[in-house]
Symmetry: C2
Subunit: 277 residues, 2 copies
């Protein structure tokens, strides 16, 4: 079993048939934590996504849209996910899911579960981000141990390898490039194939794109929205993570994810709190 | 009282202090309905936003992020909103809100409530959309009664005036321009000043941007996410609503809203279901 599947596993708890809600036991794992021992936000979205798909109970369906409100940072260790099936539909189902620790809601999310295919778009396209080869990016990333504590170091590095475009890696040396954009390759260390669940993690796997604007403390996400647009082909993912506008102590950031065939397979937007120096 | 404030009014129901949830009575009004008598999605977001701000109980706070899952279309008439304060914070509070009719969840949403200012962005900008004058757009819009039933006709026209850029108004004559983009001015008929609540409505007030790709039936939103970025200056709003990618029977559309000073004040993204001809 791949490490990513292990760390996102959800186990149904004893169900009460009188209740509209279902409870799932999860173990939030240290391998997926970032600074301060808090689990990565995309990881939490993937855990909630796995529970939502299980709550819908159709194996050929995937999370196509998900929004999480980050209420109180969870910690590594046991947690429960409470799912409520809001609507079970032929083409799309909708689920509310809450991650709870010590009786407190930590993450609250809304998820849409539907079918996905690998067909080309019927209209529109987003040109694949241009990146140096994965090898060039990997060598460059390894040559510059990050100055931002925890940003790229283990534990997350046990699960995924992120290889940054050297042109967007200034922050790692404490010198933000100023463009407010990160570009990177991402793959699982154990070469687990990418799938829609992995895309929920990928859209928030990178460090804050604001690190390429200014070195700040952590940039806590208030709300994260992800759309999965197609079944990804096997192989490494290409990511572009961009800052929109920083105003009033908040920032919007968008992430786009392309599969190995250059197809846009996921998109995300988030609003986060930020304190510029 | 402005008509928009009237149609979005929420009245607290008798509260049970033992409950974490609060109940609000609302009347979904015909003036805010679109095709089939269903209330407009941005209108529903504004109603939920008003209840969320009331649940937080701080008059100087506004909804800065909101996502709605559209579960089952509500109908015009009485409804209740159930709010749950997930976290009450110094800088940001988070609320879950559900619109219920006949015991059935119709819209489920997650909202972040925080402070807003009118200061210029600290970093980044989105250039103001270019549009002909509001007068030119209004005259053009009025000269072409829409071929799409209900898209621009009353009842919504009693509340807001939408004046379309003639370059993006082909759909009204049944000839989509092909660019997948709508540009328009928007103002309240009674000249109610715009505020953050109005922006929650504005981000989903226009007809589907996909109408400028192909004439289809209605394009039901699955999930809508809005960010409010600043307190808007008085005056008409400028909107740009764009199609991203249509794939697998789903489409993403983004809306940007600028105030009369040309400042980006709101953004939205949505995933909707679509059947191309």
């Amino acid at each position: 079993m791949s490490l990513f599947d292990e760390v996102t596993a959800v186990v149904p708890a004893a169900a009460d048939p009188e209740q509209a809600e279902q409870v799932w036991n999860v173990e939030l794992r240290d391998e997926m934590s970032i600074v301060n021992g808090h689990p990565n936000g995309g990881y939490l979205l993937a855990v909630l996504g796995r529970a939502a798909v299980a709550a819908v109970g159709q194996d050929d369906r995937h999370v196509v849209a998900a929004t999480s409100s980050y209420v109180t940072p969870p910690t590594v260790g046991p947690a429960t996910v409470v799912t409520e099936l809001l609507r079970s539909g032929r083409t799309a189902s909708q689920v509310r899911a809450r991650l709870v620790q010590e009786g407190t809601p930590r993450v609250e999310s809304l998820l849409t579960v539907a079918g996905l295919d690998a067909e080309p778009p019927a209209w529109g396209e987003v040109p694949t981000v241009e990146l140096p080869t994965e090898e060039v990016c990997r060598a460059s990333t390894r040559s510059r141990p990050p100055a931002v504590p925890g940003a790229l170091e283990p534990p997350l590095a046990k699960v995924v390898t992120m290889s940054f475009d050297p042109a967007t890696f200034g922050f790692a040396s404490g010198r933000p490039g100023g463009a407010g954009e990160l570009r990177a390759w991402l793959r699982f260390v154990d070469d687990r194939p990418v799938d829609p669940l992995a895309l929920l993690f990928a859209v928030d796997a990178l460090p804050p794109a604001t690190f390429e604007v200014a070195m700040t403390g952590w940039v806590p996400t208030l709300s994260l929205t992800a759309y999965v647009r197609a079944l990804p082909r096997p192989g490494p993912l290409r990511l572009r993570f961009r800052v929109g506008v920083i105003a009033g102590g908040k920032v919007d950031e968008t992430c786009e994810v392309w599969d190995s065939a250059g197809r846009l397979v996921a998109q995300s937007t988030q609003l986060a709190a930020i304190r510029l120096p």
